[in-house]
């Protein structure tokens, strides 16, 4: 295997040289080929080979031999998914360009496909989260009477599945599909609330520190330095251990503790950014002019500083949301996050993870845990794509 790969790479060296030489000969030494470094030519050849392999693998996935098809099933799904998503994003962007206000149409015109994919995905998640109760066939805690527990996903009766429950049921007989849909509400909702809390806390303290400066700034900044010196997931786990002892004693659900703990830990990062952004604005001459006019703190913060900080803060909100979302998912996956009976993606991955091992003979059986994990990944990827575009846009405007 390794030997064959090595041989292929060496053969490609020759092809790359031939490619460049042919390019030079055919185009009559056009600058593009004449000044092309060998590495670039090699890169083109490598890229073409990867494309050819992908097409081959895709065709294998559609093979009539189930053993071969099973093996390439996931690759096939990934490629099909990528194409479907790209087309959907493209149509969505086309739609955005022709509908809406002049402002939104202008936004869509300059938007890369990744960002329109991100926005589309976020909208779909929002719909699922808000209308989970309507969309899901069963309740999230509902143990369906007369239905066996542990129905295999895939809905293939021969394997022990049931077409009525395409993703099967869990160990106590709840519909996994419904729990997956409710997960959007719980996981995303809790992460969103946590991020808002973190922003309220970190943002207001950060701006206060930037505007007032002096000892308040010093104390807050040093405190944040210390809190940031402990890796956030580790710190969260430590505090969750303590909270798990307190929670039953105080009669407050552990999930509330988790929201507060993660919000506090994350607010340190928000504080840093808000303070930095605030300080950049505070040194501006228009702030000096307002100070010299005799304006109060309230006017300075709300009329002069905040309106100029919205763009970086919005981008940061996206990034922080991803981070919080992933932290909560990780905690849940480790078993100390969102507590049952609430349906949650992280917990579902942990509970259903074993199904992955069935993938070799029943690919559909492995989809349940992958869907839960993929649901987390897809949302964070979408948010990151949008944030990336926003950051690119704002940095581009500066130049």
């Amino acid at each position: 295997m390794i030997v064959w790969t090595a041989i292929a790479l060496v053969v490609m060296l020759g092809i790359a040289w031939a490619f460049r030489f042919a390019g030079q000969a055919v185009t009559g030494n056009a600058p593009k080929f004449r000044d092309m470094p060998f590495g670039v030519a090699y890169g083109y050849v490598l890229g073409v080979f990867v494309l050819i392999w992908l097409v081959w693998a895709y065709l294998q996935g559609r093979s009539s031999d189930p053993a071969v098809a099973n093996k390439f099933f996931f690759l096939r799904i990934a490629i099909e998914g990528l194409i479907i998503f790209s087309i959907a994003a493209w149509i969505f962007r086309l739609f955005g360009r022709s509908v809406g206000t002049a402002w939104s149409r202008k936004m869509f015109r300059s938007m890369p496909l990744t960002a329109s994919f991100g926005i589309l995905t976020i909208i779909i998640y929002a719909i699922f989260a808000i209308f989970a109760g309507v969309i899901a066939p069963y309740g999230q805690e509902q143990i369906i009477p007369g239905v066996a527990a542990n129905i295999i996903p895939g809905g293939d009766p021969a394997m022990g599945g049931n077409p009525e429950f395409p993703l099967g049921t869990d160990q106590i007989g709840r519909d996994i599909l419904s729990r997956l849909i409710y997960g959007a509400q719980n996981t995303v909702g809790i992460a969103f609330a946590t991020t808002c809390l973190a922003f309220l806390l970190g943002g207001s303290l950060g701006f206060l520190a930037a505007t007032l400066g002096g000892w308040l700034d010093q104390i807050l900044s040093r405190a944040v330095d210390v809190l940031m010196a402990i890796p956030s997931l580790i710190f969260a786990l430590l505090l969750m251990t303590i909270a798990s002892v307190w929670a039953p004693e105080l009669g407050i659900p552990l999930t509330v503790f988790m929201v507060i703990i993660i919000a506090v830990i994350d607010s340190t990062r928000v504080f840093r950014l808000a303070r930095a952004v605030g300080q950049n604005i505070v040194v501006m001459d228009y702030i000096e002019a307002a100070k010299l006019r005799g304006e109060g703190l309230g006017y300075l913060v709300f009329k002069e500083i905040l309106p100029n900080a919205t763009a970086p803060l919005l981008a940061e909100f996206g990034l922080r949301f991803c981070f919080v979302f992933l932290t909560i998912a990780a905690l849940s996956f480790l078993g100390v996050g969102i507590q049952p009976p609430l349906a949650d993606w992280g917990t579902m991955v942990r509970d259903l993870g074993g199904f992955v091992n069935f993938a070799a003979f029943a690919p559909l059986a492995a989809t349940a845990p992958l869907l839960a994990a993929g649901a987390i990944a897809l949302l964070t990827v979408a948010v990151n794509f949008v944030v990336d575009w926003m950051l690119h846009k704002s940095s581009g405007l500066k130049e």
Partner: protein
């Protein structure tokens, strides 16, 4: 006559260039011709955004990222630079065509010693060996009158001052004895006294080696000293080209004439101040420090009603710090600021609303002085409402009146954002905001230095008119003596946090004066092409620039 073609070094024909913004290409240069003979110096002048640097780089066959040459030809000594291979071009660059950048501090690699960077070109191009080139470098340093020529090459860029670095870069450009050097605003970032030294050095060395050069600058007086020919650019178009003396004496185009005329603006002299008059602002024995670093020493001067006091000095002389003391942003260590004979509290936070209202400020960078998220109307209306308590229609009427005062049409500009305005218009909004407080005294901190000459002149005329109408008092902070000549009534010269000399403008521009004032005044380039030559003859090379300052 048969040899005429080989005499031409650079030949650019119909060059059009485009720059990319937001995925579309927009024109920067719209078809310019340029011809440069061997050993000739061409001055390329124009306002910011005229495309002079872009054109200068195109003469080397080089474009920056996001810029392309869309049409035309560039030939260097018969070689078509646009069709030449990357290897051919690399062979020319550094060896036969060299470049001197605006910011020497940023253009030297911070990780290597100066001499190592100097010898890199000759060694890589195979012109000289390392030792030979190093020896040559030291000779060049000596020719450029750098202090300690034997040792300066062994320093790192951050250990050498800006004026010296700029000369090191000129030496580096000379290292392969190129046929052509592109100077891209080499003295713009320097103080006047340092600038003159660098100018003299550059002119001398270009002369000695008979190198052709393209000298890019926005400063007419500088280009008059350096160039044999001048080409004027305006927004990517050529306005006119002529040899320097003809151009200065008889410009043919309207635009060129107006550029020349800027320097002629001068206000009539005002009568001498009554000795018993109470000054609007009195700065009395002010000492100030940033933390423990002292920056002002015993600074005192008066500002009288309806008059302009120009505070002059180089960067770091304490001009802006004095302004911060007056506004109360930096409470002085000792001494006091008086408004109409009454002592102002040192800290602005302790001043009354009325005291704050009387002292207003206009900033150098209009971009950072206006809140980008507020409309013009909101920006001007805020002080109107804050100080005068006007609301609704009354407020709007007042704002409209202010906009008219600064010569901007109210209905057109009221709802615009600062980003939709040009630099000069933004500066006018800054003036309107200061006027809205109906103050007695306005501090103008380098208000014209970020603007092009024509626009700057408009601002100066506006300020002069407003002063006559409203009996305003200005403190005019500037390093540009042409501005001082245009608008000041009195002048205060500062150096190293001290007032070196002060008095009415007429006296200041007439000898005898303090040696520093003398140096400062004599270092300001004039529009006379013989000015630098005469000055060097008069003062001698050792009595200009940093060398002269060190002697004081």
């Amino acid at each position: 006559m048969t040899d005429e073609t080989s005499d031409i070094l650079v030949k650019m024909r119909g060059v059009k260039m485009e720059g990319r913004s937001d995925e579309t290409w927009s024109p920067i240069i719209n078809g310019v011709d340029l011809t440069l003979k061997r050993g000739e110096v061409l001055g390329l002048i124009g306002e910011s955004g005229a495309g002079k640097s872009t054109l200068g780089l195109a003469a080397m066959g080089y474009t920056r990222d996001g810029v392309r040459i869309s049409e035309g030809t560039v030939e260097f000594d018969g070689i078509d630079l646009l069709k030449a291979s990357a290897a051919t071009k690399r062979d020319l660059l550094g060896k036969r065509i060299a470049y001197v950048a605006q910011s020497a501090a940023a253009s030297f690699n911070p990780a290597h010693k100066l001499l190592d960077q100097h010898v890199e070109g000759p060694v890589q191009h195979g012109v000289m060996g390392r030792n030979e080139s190093a020896q040559d470098g030291i000779e060049l340093y000596e020719k450029l009158r750098l202090p300690n020529p034997d040792q300066i090459g062994f320093r790192y860029p951050h250990q050498v001052s800006g004026g010296q670095l700029q000369r090191c870069m000129t030496a580096m450009a000379m290292s392969c004895r190129p046929d052509l050097i592109i100077f891209d605003e080499p003295t713009t970032a320097l103080d006047v006294t340092t600038q003159i030294e660098v100018l003299a050095a550059i002119r001398d060395i270009v002369d000695q080696f008979n190198t052709a050069a393209i000298y890019i600058t926005h400063d007419l007086a500088v280009v008059a000293q350096m160039a044999d020919q001048i080409k004027v650019l305006l927004k990517g178009d050529e306005v006119e080209t002529a040899d320097t003396r003809t151009m200065l004496a008889a410009p043919t185009q309207e635009y060129t004439k107006s550029l020349w005329a800027v320097r002629s603006f001068e206000r009539p002299t005002k009568p001498v101040v009554q000795s018993d008059a109470v000054p609007v602002i009195r700065v009395e024995n002010v000492d100030a420090a940033y933390g423990t670093v002292p920056v002002l020493h015993d600074v005192s001067f008066d500002l009288h009603q309806g008059r302009t006091v120009a505070v002059v000095g180089e960067s770091g002389s304490g001009k802006s710090t004095t302004a911060r003391c007056i506004t109360g942003l930096l409470p002085p260590k000792s001494g006091q600021i008086m408004l109409d004979g009454q002592t102002l509290p040192a800290d602005y936070k302790k001043r009354t609303k009325d005291q704050l209202r009387q002292v207003q400020m206009i900033y150098q960078m209009a971009d950072t002085a206006l809140n980008p998220r507020m409309s013009i109307g909101q920006i001007i209306a805020r002080p109107v409402e804050f100080y005068l308590g006007l609301k609704g229609k009354e407020k709007r009427r007042r704002v409209d009146a202010l906009l008219e005062q600064i010569e901007l049409e109210p209905t057109q500009y009221y709802h615009r954002l600062p980003s939709e305005l040009s630099g000069g218009q933004k500066q006018r909004i800054g003036i309107a905001r200061a006027l809205a407080a109906e103050p007695k005294f306005i501090i103008c901190d380098e208000v014209t230095s970020a603007l092009d000459q024509l626009v700057a002149e408009g601002i100066l005329r506006l300020l002069a008119r407003l002063q006559d109408e409203l009996q305003l008092t200005y403190m005019f902070i500037t390093h540009d003596l042409a501005t001082v000549r245009a608008i000041a009534d009195e002048v205060v010269v500062m150096k190293d946090g001290r007032v070196v000399e002060q008095g009415p403008k007429k006296e200041m521009f007439k000898p005898p004066h303090h040696p520093y004032t003398d140096l400062l005044l004599s270092s300001v380039p004039e529009m006379d092409p013989d000015w630098l030559t005469n000055l060097l003859n008069e003062r001698g090379v050792d009595n200009i620039g940093d060398a002269a300052v060190d002697k004081m």
